[in-house]
């Protein structure tokens, strides 16, 4: 059977499942639309949060970024898991005790200020919209490959599907749908990884295989990988090359950002009890760790396989021939991906072979001259295609490839839907109902939620066509923004009674603005290409790239809030009492939507 048909069956069947569940659990009232009632078990909630969390960035993009860089990109692994420790220890149980539906409601009440709430909503919208841009990049890659069309067409079709999907149900539909999506995406990620780990190391657990022995050479897998990549003039895979300060700040930004993202935090409002909020964070990380412990193995093994395919007789011998790429079924994936415009090669020296090497390396230039090469001929290998192409690269059975297509779409769709929900609730519930039109009807609120969703997806798709980076990099920017604006306000609200309304507002604004400006200076104003004054290759502040700036933005936020709070009027007693009550689980009731 044709691979396209098999993909269609897998994708079609998984979508039928999600839509079936969404219809079965359709949201009726506003409170169901946002928080699905309060009957979600911590394990169920953990899986749903896992699906919500693991987006195109984790599923489609991350392993590719690790594969082509190696150790230095471990930052993604530590950053996107370590944030759950902050969430579990510093935020989740207290926000659940507080008992409202949205992050901005907490900020509005804790800082007894409509302005604080408004600023929080703006921060949420900025961070979430940036996040959706990254998702749309991933959606474009996934749909482009699946439908075998170019990236742009894939993105537009994908955007329509995401919109239809998000409008369908509120979080109730989404909670159970996301459990199904989690199962599809984790199988899709781990099954090919297990196959590949068995092929290369004989170990069925990819995370162990990564540190195991490469069966073909008898050497440790990572030592073999280091050797073949350095043979081609690339940097040693396991070594530390990038700036240490930037690595630390980047990891920290991702961690703090995780604990400041509305669509993740919102999940912890939906568990029955405060103690469940603590367990829920743990279960969420269990389900996320299944993917994150596998991802570095996927990256390293794919890099090994790609190098082997490009140099079938070894790196010291002849490169693969153009004829072989065009006729050998093992290279079929290259032809399919070429159609998306995300993979490309060119026989520059007309020797009938495609030499893949680092043409910037001096050693390689010497060899190139000797052998008559005129530059790297694998001219384009978009990092975001690696995970989706991985089962084809490893020549796995057709059903595995179909499963991965379904998983990639599930990952991109589920997060995009969750984010759109967070954006739409921020606009309709917090901005319109909470600020501008308090008397709006339930129907009007739902309608404005859907209009906000449509607008967000149009903006994100437009910017997703010319993204500021690969999916995971754009998403990292969103984390920086959340880290700099939301997290400090939440944490200080719980741990520091002294921080008052003026302090919080000044802190959030300072953190958001300074981070946003730093990002725009490097990535273009409003992410419009070619409007940037600096580049991440040579950042404004020494080694600190725009993706790492969130940690500094958070520090600015804390500092400004402290200074302003100590110069302005003290926090009133009833707010101090509110903070006291949030700190103890006793008396946690159901959440309420209004005031």
């Amino acid at each position: 059977m044709d691979q396209f048909i098999i993909n269609l069956i897998f994708v079609g069947a998984s979508f039928a499942l999600y839509i079936g569940i969404a219809v079965w659990a359709r949201a009726g009232s506003t409170s169901e639309f946002y928080a699905a009632g309060r009957g979600v078990h911590p394990i169920t909630n953990g899986m749903a949060t896992g699906a919500d969390w693991m987006s195109a960035a984790s599923f489609i993009s991350m392993a590719g970024l690790i594969a082509f860089v190696g150790y230095d990109n471990s930052t993604f692994l530590m950053g996107w898991t370590g944030g759950y420790v902050l969430l579990a220890l510093l935020l989740a149980p207290y926000l659940r005790k507080f008992g409202k539906f949205t992050v901005s409601e907490f900020i509005g009440d804790r800082y007894y200020s409509k302005t604080a709430r408004l600023v929080a909503v703006i921060c949420l919208i900025v961070a979430s919209t940036t996040y959706v841009i990254g998702q749309m990049t991933g959606v474009g890659v996934a749909f482009g490959r699946f439908l075998e069309v170019d990236n742009t067409t894939g993105l537009i079709i994908g955007a329509l599907v995401v919109f239809a999907y998000a409008v369908f149900g509120g979080m109730k539909g989404v909670t159970y749908t996301q459990v199904a999506q989690y199962i599809v995406l984790i199988l899709a990620y781990t099954i090919p990884a297990i196959f590949i780990s068995l092929q290369l190391t004989g170990n069925p657990i990819p995370g162990l295989g990564l540190f195991g022995e490469h069966t073909a050479s008898g050497e440790p897998l990572l030592a073999k990988l280091d050797q073949i990549v350095t043979d081609l003039g690339f940097k040693e895979y396991t070594a530390h090359h990038s700036n240490t300060l930037n690595m630390v700040l980047f990891t920290l930004s991702l961690m703090i950002g995780t604990a400041g993202l509305p669509h993740v935090i919102m999940r912890f409002f939906t568990v029955p009890r405060v103690s469940d909020a603590r367990w829920s964070a743990g279960w969420t990380l269990v389900f996320i760790a299944l993917l994150y412990l596998t991802a570095p193995a996927v990256g390293a093994m794919a890099r090994l396989n790609i190098t082997d395919l490009m140099w079938p007789e070894g790196t010291e011998s002849q490169a693969v021939s153009v004829e072989q790429i065009q006729t050998d079924p093992e290279y079929q994936w290259m032809l399919t991906w070429q159609k998306t415009g995300l993979l490309g090669w060119e026989d520059k020296n007309d020797d009938g072979r495609i030499q893949y090497y680092n043409d910037a390396s001096e050693e390689m230039q010497a060899r190139a001259e000797e052998e008559g090469w005129v530059g790297n001929e694998l001219t384009n290998f978009n990092r975001d295609i690696l995970v989706l192409a991985n089962p084809e690269i490893a020549n796995l059975p057709a059903w595995v490839i179909g499963l991965v297509a379904a998983g990639g779409l599930a990952a991109a769709l589920s997060t995009a839907a969750g984010l759109l929900l967070a954006i739409s609730s921020a606009v309709s519930h917090d901005l319109i109902k909470g600020h501008f039109v308090p008397g709006i009807s339930e129907k009007g609120e739902l309608l404005s939620a859907r209009i906000a969703m449509a607008l967000a997806i149009v903006v994100a798709s437009y910017l997703g066509l010319n993204p500021p980076g690969f999916a995971a990099q754009t998403v990292a920017l969103a984390f920086g923004l959340a880290a700099a604006s939301i997290f400090p306000a939440l944490m200080m609200g719980i741990f520091w009674k002294k921080i008052n309304n003026s302090g919080a507002v000044a802190g959030m604004l300072a953190g958001l603005v300074v981070t946003l400006v730093y990002i725009f200076l490097h990535k273009g104003w409003f992410f419009i290409p070619d409007t940037n004054q600096f580049s991440d290759a040579d950042p404004l502040l020494g080694p600190i790239k725009s993706t790492s700036f969130g940690a500094i933005g958070a520090a600015v936020n804390f500092l400004v809030a402290y200074i302003v709070a100590s110069m302005t009027k003290e926090t009133p007693q009833e707010i101090k009492d509110l903070v006291e009550s949030v700190r103890v689980p006793k008396g946690a009731g159901d959440a309420s939507a209004g005031h």
Binding site: Y71, S74, L77, M78, T81, G82, Y84, V85, A88, L89, L90, P93, G207, L210, F211, G212, E219, P220, L221, L222, A223, K224, D226, T238, H240, T244, M247, V248, T251, L252, M255, R273, V274, S275, R278, W279, A281, G282, L285, V286, A289, Y292, L293, P296, F495, E580, R583, V584, P585, K586, G587, A588
Partner: protein
């Protein structure tokens, strides 16, 4: 103990637990995974060194243990100080 003293003691114990947990959190990721990697380079693990393992596997496993330990410990603290939900 009055209710107020009890919640103050509870909060103090909680903050101490959080502080220790965060020390471990930072040690395994920023410490072993990045800054202290050169120090650990003598300990080899599967073709590379312990710092690489912490950066790509170990830190995640420690994070998991930390969160479950904290949840378990806090549920006990809730009961000890009489501030639990029931």
């Amino acid at each position: 103990m009055s209710e107020k003293d009890s919640s103050a003691a509870y909060w103090k114990a909680n903050v101490r637990l959080i502080a220790w947990s965060l020390v471990i959190w930072a040690l395994v990721s920023f410490g072993f995974g990045i800054l202290l990697r050169p120090v650990l380079s003598g300990i080899s693990v599967g073709g590379t060194d312990l710092g690489f393992w912490f950066a790509q596997q170990g830190s995640i496993l420690v994070f998991l243990v930390l969160i479950f330990f904290y949840a378990w410990r806090m549920n006990k603290l809730d009961a000890e100080h009489g501030v639990g939900e029931e």
